[in-house]
């Protein structure tokens, strides 16, 4: 495969041809624990990038920092060329960088369809004064509902449309959260373990959705522990361990990288990670 991602050689923190996110010197300390310590990181635009690493590597914390949900000790980063360090989380989302959560955040006392509608951005009816006059937002609401129903069908949640999100199974909530994130047509979607708890049959179709997203021009960054999946759909893999980016590269190459295997399994293994299921 001709290299259309990286400038020069793949290495931790290497430059990308067309990065959508560029971060440098991002650190976050919890007490004495340096949870994230990323010197340089670039996410390629229009690709599917997997962020992997053992438990506690700092993946979720990095997500939190990049999306403004947590404040770093140091660090700068840009999204679509604009500096967004220190920008509040909702503004980050408005710029088209939407994330999901590892511990699902479905809004349990609202129906599935209401969850979906909430995902749409720049709604006129969300202003206080216009909210009182339904003719101002009825049309928009119908359009949003249409998009929502479309997505629900794709995620096989259409039968649950009117159910409360609290009544969904864990896997279904994961799906709902992902579908909801897509309501705003983000340019970068960051999924924190989207497949955890989703059954294998659905996983396959989810993978297709993610590929479909890429085809539609959305950049995907996702955290995943299932190496098969990572190998199957990602164009690029970034490996974190103990807060640092320890390896980067194409999936096949990275999975054979000794540094990665060490990070996951300790120093004494030489298995190809791709043969491990659910590398926990």
């Amino acid at each position: 495969m001709p290299n259309d991602i990286v400038v020069g050689k793949a290495a931790p923190g290497c430059k990308k041809i067309d990065p959508i996110v560029v971060a440098s010197n991002v650190t976050r300390q919890f007490g004495g624990n340096l949870a994230v310590n990323v010197e340089h990181l670039e996410i390629p635009r229009g690709k599917i990038t997997a962020l992997i690493g053992p438990n506690g590597a700092g993946k979720t914390t990095l997500f939190n920092l990049l999306t403004g949900f947590d404040k770093p000790n140091t660090g700068e980063w840009t999204f679509e060329g604009k500096n967004i360090a220190g920008v509040s989380s909702y503004k980050v989302a408005r710029r088209g960088m939407i994330r999901t959560f590892q511990l699902t955040k479905s809004l349990n006392a609202m129906t599935v369809i209401e969850n979906m509608r909430l995902g749409a951005q720049k709604q006129r009816g969300e202003g206080f004064f216009s909210s009182l006059f339904s003719f101002l937002w009825k049309g928009e609401e119908a359009r949003i509902t249409e998009t929502a129903d479309d997505l629900l069908k794709r995620f096989k949640l259409d039968a649950k449309r009117e159910d409360y999100a609290g009544s969904l199974s864990g896997g279904q909530r994961k799906l709902l959260e992902m579908a909801r994130a897509l309501m705003s047509k983000p340019s970068l979607i960051m999924l924190d373990e989207p497949m955890a708890g989703v059954n294998p049959a659905l996983t396959q179709s989810l993978l297709e959705h993610i590929k479909g997203l890429k085809a539609g021009g959305t950049t995907v960054l996702f955290v995943e522990h299932d190496m098969h999946m990572v190998r199957h759909i990602s164009d690029w893999v970034i490996v974190m361990a103990e807060g640092k980016v320890v390896a980067e590269g194409e999936p096949n190459v990275v999975m054979k990288d000794q540094a990665v295997i060490d990070a996951y399994l300790g120093a004494h293994h030489d298995t190809d990670l791709g043969t491990m299921k659910k590398g926990k």
């Binding site: 999306t67 949900f69 989380s89 909702y90 503004k91 989302a93 408005r94 939407i98 994330r99 999901t100 959560f101 955040k105 479905s106 809004l107 349990n108 006392a109 609202m110 209401e114 509608r117 909430l118 995902g119 951005q121 709604q123 006129r124 009816g125 969300e126 202003g127 206080f128 216009s130 909210s131 009182l132 339904s134 937002w137 609401e141 409360y164 609290g166 009544s167 959260e177 909801r180 994130a181 309501m183 705003s184």
Partner: protein
């Protein structure tokens, strides 16, 4: 014991202007807590700001009553901003402690002798409401409505109070069925999720605090017009807790809940009080004297609050799936 009188007294609570005042406060609290999930334990202060705002507007600023009411609502907005900007970032239970503390601070400030020129100190203020009755379109006379006989002033006061209740309920209904209300409910469920979808959660919470506060401010205004005076000792924490009981009784995230809750609460309260008092009078409760009977009501309020929250947190009208307490 006169059972008829007892019933009549209890039923008159249904349409008492003070019941309307509590209902307005509870509607405000439904916006705060029921729809947005804000644990506001300082609702008494919002009502007090409305009440004092109007009284001071008339007495010190020499405004006409209607303008003073406008001034009062403006004060409520300012109070909501002062309270909300620093505190809405706090965790829910901290918000509870800070709101209750702020309400007490406000009450201390109103009753301290230092500002008594303006606030009346611990005596409070009176004689600000005359103009209200000059607007009365109801012709002079006694109005016999079967159970009650009211003067034209009493009719007018009830008319205004309950029109405001109806108007507020309609407004809340309009707000909450809209996408705006959807954001509010989302915040109640999980504010981080809503943030991740690009909504300015802080601003929405502030809006909720202001709007719910305005309803409570109106409640305070009706309360003191009905009482014809403002006293600092009215706005104690127990006032807030009664509003909570009213709200939880009817259902926190419902439109009709605060109204039904308020009416039921005061009818039941009067009924039990009168019945206990009657029983005492005919010697069935020999161990209690009259004030103690009145004290039992508060025990009942406390018990009602505990039982409701544990066994029926959604209230009489609420949908269990719609309202659950977070955390």
């Amino acid at each position: 014991m006169d059972l008829l009188l007892t019933l009549n007294l209890s039923i008159s609570e249904l349409v008492s202007p003070l019941t309307a005042a509590y209902i307005l406060c509870a509607i405000g609290l439904s916006v705060h807590f029921g729809y947005t999930g804000l644990l506001n334990f300082g609702q008494a202060a919002f009502a007090a700001v409305g009440a004092y705002g109007m009284a001071i507007g008339v007495l010190t600023l020499k405004l006409p009553l209607l303008a003073a009411m406008g001034f009062a609502l403006l004060c409520v907005v300012v109070f909501a901003l002062i309270l909300g900007i620093p505190t809405l970032r706090l965790r829910a239970d901290y918000l509870a402690i800070v709101t209750i503390a702020s309400a007490e601070v406000f009450r201390y400030l109103m009753s301290t002798s230092g500002f008594s020129e303006v606030t009346g100190g611990s005596n409070g203020l009176s004689q600000f409401g005359y103009e209200f009755y000059t607007w009365n379109p109801v012709p002079k006379g006694q109005y016999n409505l079967g159970l009650f006989t009211w003067t034209e002033e009493e009719v007018w006061l009830r008319l205004v109070a309950f029109s405001l209740v109806a108007l507020s309920a309609v407004l809340v209904w309009l707000m909450m069925r809209s996408p705006w209300g959807r954001v509010m409910k989302g915040i109640r469920e999980d504010e981080d999720a809503v943030r991740s979808l690009g909504k300015n959660v802080f601003w929405y919470k502030l809006q909720s605090l202001i709007i719910g506060g305005l309803f409570a401010g109106l409640g305070g205004i009706i309360f003191v017009i009905a009482m014809s005076n403002v006293q600092p000792s009215t706005w104690v924490t127990t006032f807030t807790f009664m509003i909570w009981t009213v709200l939880l009784l009817g259902g926190a995230a419902t439109i009709l809940g605060p109204i039904a809750g308020g009416m039921l609460f005061f009818v039941l309260l009067t009924l039990t009080n009168e019945l206990l008092d009657g029983l005492r009078a005919i010697g069935w409760l020999p161990f209690l004297d009259q004030p103690q009977v009145a004290q039992i009501r508060f025990i009942l309020i406390g018990l009602a609050l505990m039982l409701l929250v544990v066994f029926r947190p959604q209230g009489i009208f609420g949908n269990k799936k719609e309202l659950r307490f977070n955390a």
